[in-house]
Symmetry: C2
Subunit: 461 residues, 2 copies
């Protein structure tokens, strides 16, 4: 049915086009056919993701996994004969979780100590070996914390504001909750608290904690911060509602080591007419140290490689340079993205577009355009083509963290928009493994990116 409607759209489009446009239209339709045949028929995105996640495993910046990921993806692009492949070195932070992450609740009202499931938030300081211990205060907002500021002195703050499930887009639910994780330790330290437990950033109720970045301020003490599983957050909350006084002992062995050298991995099909006009298609190579970062963002990396691979297999010689960039360190510093935008290698290059896939390897729905309304309008002229791939939902929106520094310099940004209902079930947790990725959905994302790269390369923006 979608086929027929797309056919009607594109046939109608043919009728109103001039002959030059007609030629372009025929080329575009034939490219879409080729992308579907080659991509869905014998695409490599899923195999690449299997290779990346099995060889590198989790790959937090500065880890051995991240180092392997650089080598593996460099080799993937070399092996596929891209016009050039190189590394751009960047210094990255190195944080380690260590062996211990443990929280135990005690209360006169409980028959025995109750272990709850936690994991250190990324960047957290560790605790002394015997842990930090204090009474628990539960809050849902920073305002609520302020009203209880006096009480908070010496306590452990449980931030327990859940995802609002009523948003259609789960990224809106995430945005509405994530300041508890990112700013919670700062706000808690400001009122004299000694540690924070943060409800995991997910709409799922289960016993798996979700890590993620947290921040400190030099103005207040750096206190330990851990995510608690949604199931245990609900349990603790129910005890507090029942009037129990709860204490928690939190033990974390996390620590931050000296920065280490890592790299962005870059490969490209060089433009035949305008080699210095660059279209970046990107993912980030680092992941958290839970799961294997299959959706976040192994998917985006292999899709970028596969987008170039598909165009190459189809014999496309792009007018402008199409460049796959696997950025390092999106999760805890964005050093790769920041450096790429200002590196000496950028001299003489003009970045005309930057595309990122960092919302999981799910079925694509369309493209979010991170630029002014002129750009949205210009991309919308291709809407019927993307509709042929079931990805015709094009509108303003965010692109991606890594490429946001290019966007800040005036490069239009594009985000691959996907079905995101399942994303935060897995995100930053042991659940984010390749068995949650569907090979067709992943490949189709690469196909959409390949088409967008091609259109920008041939027609400009």
């Amino acid at each position: 049915m979608s086929h027929r409607s797309a056919w009607i759209t594109s046939t109608f489009a043919l009728l109103v086009l001039s002959s030059g446009q007609l030629f372009a239209q025929i080329q575009q339709d034939s490219l879409i056919g080729g992308l579907l045949k080659t991509g869905l028929g014998k695409g490599e995105a899923f195999e690449l993701l299997e290779e990346l996640t099995s060889k590198a495993g989790p790959r937090l910046s500065g880890s051995r996994g991240a180092e392997i990921a650089v080598e593996v993806t460099f080799k993937m692009m070399m092996d596929r004969g891209f016009d050039s492949t190189h590394l751009e070195h960047v210094m990255v932070p190195r944080w380690e979780r260590g062996e211990v992450e443990k929280a135990t609740i005690t209360s006169a009202g409980l028959p025995k100590p109750l272990p709850v499931t936690v994991c250190a938030l990324g960047g957290s300081v560790g605790t002394p070996a015997e842990g930090v211990e204090g009474s628990i205060i539960e809050v849902r907002t920073f305002d609520e914390l302020q009203t209880r500021a006096k009480e908070a002195q010496g306590k452990v703050i449980l931030y327990n504001r859940p995802f609002d499930p009523t948003h259609l887009n789960t990224f809106a639910s995430y945005s509405g909750a994530v300041n508890q994780r990112s700013q919670g330790a700062i706000e808690a330290a400001r009122v004299g608290a000694i540690a924070v437990l943060v409800r995991s950033m997910t709409g799922m109720i289960d016993d798996v904690p979700h890590t993620g970045a947290m921040n400190y301020s030099d103005e207040v003490p750096k206190i330990p911060a851990a995510a608690i599983s949604t199931q245990d957050a609900d349990l603790v909350s129910s005890y507090l509602r029942d009037g129990l006084d709860l204490s928690v002992n939190l033990q974390l062995s996390a620590k931050t080591l000296a920065d280490v050298q890592s790299a962005n991995v870059v490969g490209q099909l060089t433009g035949s007419l305008f080699p210095n006009e660059i279209i970046v298609v990107a993912g980030h190579l680092d992941s958290w140290d839970k799961g294997t970062g299959a959706h976040d963002d192994g998917a985006g990396c292999v899709q970028a490689i596969e987008a170039l691979n598909l165009l190459k297999k189809l014999g496309v010689k792009p007018k402008r340079t199409i460049r796959a960039v696997m950025f390092m360190n999106e999760e805890n510093g964005v050093r790769g993205g920041k450096q790429y935008a200002v590196a000496p290698e950028r001299k003489g290059e003009k970045h005309i577009a930057a595309i990122e896939s960092d919302r999981g390897g799910f079925a694509p729905r369309g493209i979010t355009v991170h630029g002014d309304s002129t750009v949205v309008g210009r991309v919308n002229r291709w809407q019927p083509l993307f509709a042929q791939l079931n990805a015709g939902q094009i509108g303003p929106g965010y692109s991606g963290v890594d490429i946001s520094h290019l966007v800040d310099q005036g490069t239009p940004g594009f985000g691959l928009d996907v079905e995101n209902h399942r994303y935060f079930d897995y995100h930053h947790s042991d659940h984010d493994t390749i068995d949650k990725v569907n090979a067709r959905e992943l490949e189709l994302g690469a196909i959409v990116e390949a088409l967008l790269c091609y259109l920008i390369s041939e027609e400009g923006l």
Copy 2:
């Protein structure tokens, strides 16, 4: 981003509407808000599906599971206080797989007998206890079978045409392969073969066989028919390519018993102005006897109940009757759908629309319209509303098997169109269980159906 674009669309729509239309538009927007808040916030579709699949389990027509499913869904609708709930009895076939389904390959070229993974196709006759045994001939098409007709006498035919993965829509891949399952035994018997093995109807390569309906003809012998896992189909094929002569012993204990009485389960919100104008929203209650039919079609059943439930919770008193129908026996006879269309209960009723969800409980993308182009056009006037639910892809297409008999009588049919990349990974196999269903995606399908029911009820078609 999709929010913003939807907001722009609906704001623009407001500006060009007359005041009556404006009122309707405001009501519709507020209904969409209410559906999202109530559905995504505290929807019941997933709980209903858990209840159905855990209490009834697999529910092939005539089985105890099917009987429980009738009771459970009847009670679900009674408990929710729909305006009326009743059963419409129907006689259904009763086929049983029995305990034995076993295939063993032997060859002078193999060190020992090789068991392969099979399951009886639905409706197959059984074999003698010692099995049927013959050499294997592999074909991919009926044409190829015809060219080898002489050779086929006394042999076992392996139909091994895989899914064509290059279709964007997996239903197209299924359509291109399924005649091997549905007609394979007839065509094989016509050339004197003694049994058939059919490559499982899935694009996945694994060791789980997928059952499904097969047919016999009275003109030729009824020979046993089994699905073989894709992994073992590939293995057998590779041995044949290597030049091995293979025999197979196939043992099936399947049998067909006498028809038994079952029922369609019907509940409704009765129309306030036109009670005899009916909008059916449907799924089928029976499933295959592998897995628990969570996607096929437990999802469609609970979505139909939930669609009414949501409208009732939001205080909607529909002008026309909105009726949830759980049809019995879609999988192997469609007796429920056929009988519903002609039953005495239909007297005085006018069916103005029939909606079915039978493509799995995945994220909805839109609606396929099974009717003439006028109907497509009329539904398309609501496209901006469905786009607010990320389900704006509206075009001509099939609706559903159960409601096709109403469509044949002139009722416009509508199919809930969903992301279908994963569907045939699970379909008709042990994989089709509730852990493959995402609660938000399932609920959103119910929300889309509720909106479509409401719009047709208030505005007609």
